[in-house]
Amino acid sequence: MIASIAAFLTGLANPTRFLTVAGRLMPWMIGVTALLFAVGLYLSFQAPEDYQQGMTVRIMFIHVPSAWLAMMCYTVMAIAAIGTLVWRHPLADVAAKAAAPIGAAFTFLALLTGSLWGKPMWGTWWVWDARLTSVFVLFLMYLGLIALNRAMDDPARSARVSAIIILVGYINIPIIKFSVEWWNTLHQPASVMRLDGPTIHPSLLYPLLVMALAFSMLFFTLHFAAMRNEIWRRRVASMRRQAARSARG
């Protein structure tokens, strides 16, 4: 199993092969994403209103998946960073670089929907509790990584350097996950991913899970598209350089 995965990943090290595979997968991924979103959004609006929160409970169907994806995206980047530093996989750095803006977008979405929900429920747009603060720090780290990628023009050098920063910043992810348990926060504790089973009612749980699946597929689709764009961008850059060199000589 592991050997076949490794062989598959090694095969993908050839960017041209990756482009072929990604190009073939892309229409399917877009289709599955659209289908999942159609089902998920339908179920979200079919879900009963909460007896306390009323309509605003539906914000959760966007908020929770975005927050999960914000953390998963950073995890993907950390794995890619290990891939860059340990195996020098040529696509790992493309994956890490392409994921950063997507992760920033999901983090922003989680912060935005959370604050839209917080205004009617908590009576405030923002509180400085541990969960909100640590997610805000995650957002800042995404922006810092994007700035770092833009500041360096040599992709090979910026790949290794930003991989190190990604791995150092990964300590924030467990802090986000456990912030609601370590500190007494206004943000409610985990109600889905618990050892003793979810404490959320099934009528709200199933739409949430479908939406989480839809958001994950959206992430993978966007990530693949961004990776393809990044590979093409690098090819264009190197072709331009070649053209300039041959024009001069």
């Binding site: 800042l140 810092g144 290794r160 350097v161 920063i165 150092v168 924030n172």
Partner: protein, 219 residues
Amino acid sequence: MWALFVRDLRLSMRAGGGALIGVLFFLAVVAVIPFGVGPDLKLLSLIGPAILWIGALLAALLGLDRLFQHDREDGSLDIMLMQETPMFLTVLVKCLAHWAGTGLPLIIASPVLGLLMNIKGVAMLAVAATLLVGTPAITFIGAVGAAVSVALPRGGVLVSVLVLPLAVPVLIFGVSAVYGAVEDPAPFTPPFLILCAITLFFSVLGPLAASAALRASAD
């Protein structure tokens, strides 16, 4: 190693070394606050410890881009990378020297600035103690940012952007330990011990990551 420590410390003490500039910046930040929030002594003594911590954090960040920049420009960084001593130790010693050059003066200056902010004696001691334990962590975290941006043409601002989010826990536990020392129900020891743990943790992770980044940007 001792020679490297003394060399770096001397360099930071010399004109243009940045040790004095850090203290001046610290003074300026703290002096600006009363103009912003008003000269109410009660309010100042309430927010004083936090102001001192934020000022020290910003002042510590200010000098960080010098940590490797000069050594890269005159080529001594390449020699350090080539020598047999592990780069991890070299970076650790450089961080300690940088801290002794820029962090210690901040701590010595903090009680004087505490007087300006109308802070009580116990709180002043607590601020100095937490700064003594906490500022090395800022230097170690900052070393990663400094190592990353050493190859960049304009690294200074980027260092702060990358380092500030990671330095947030240091600030949180530093300030909460100070308030624990002053106010009754809040405890002093747990946040102080967590602050010690953060510093020890980053004293390993910081130099490791920084030496890896220096190696990556050297070739």
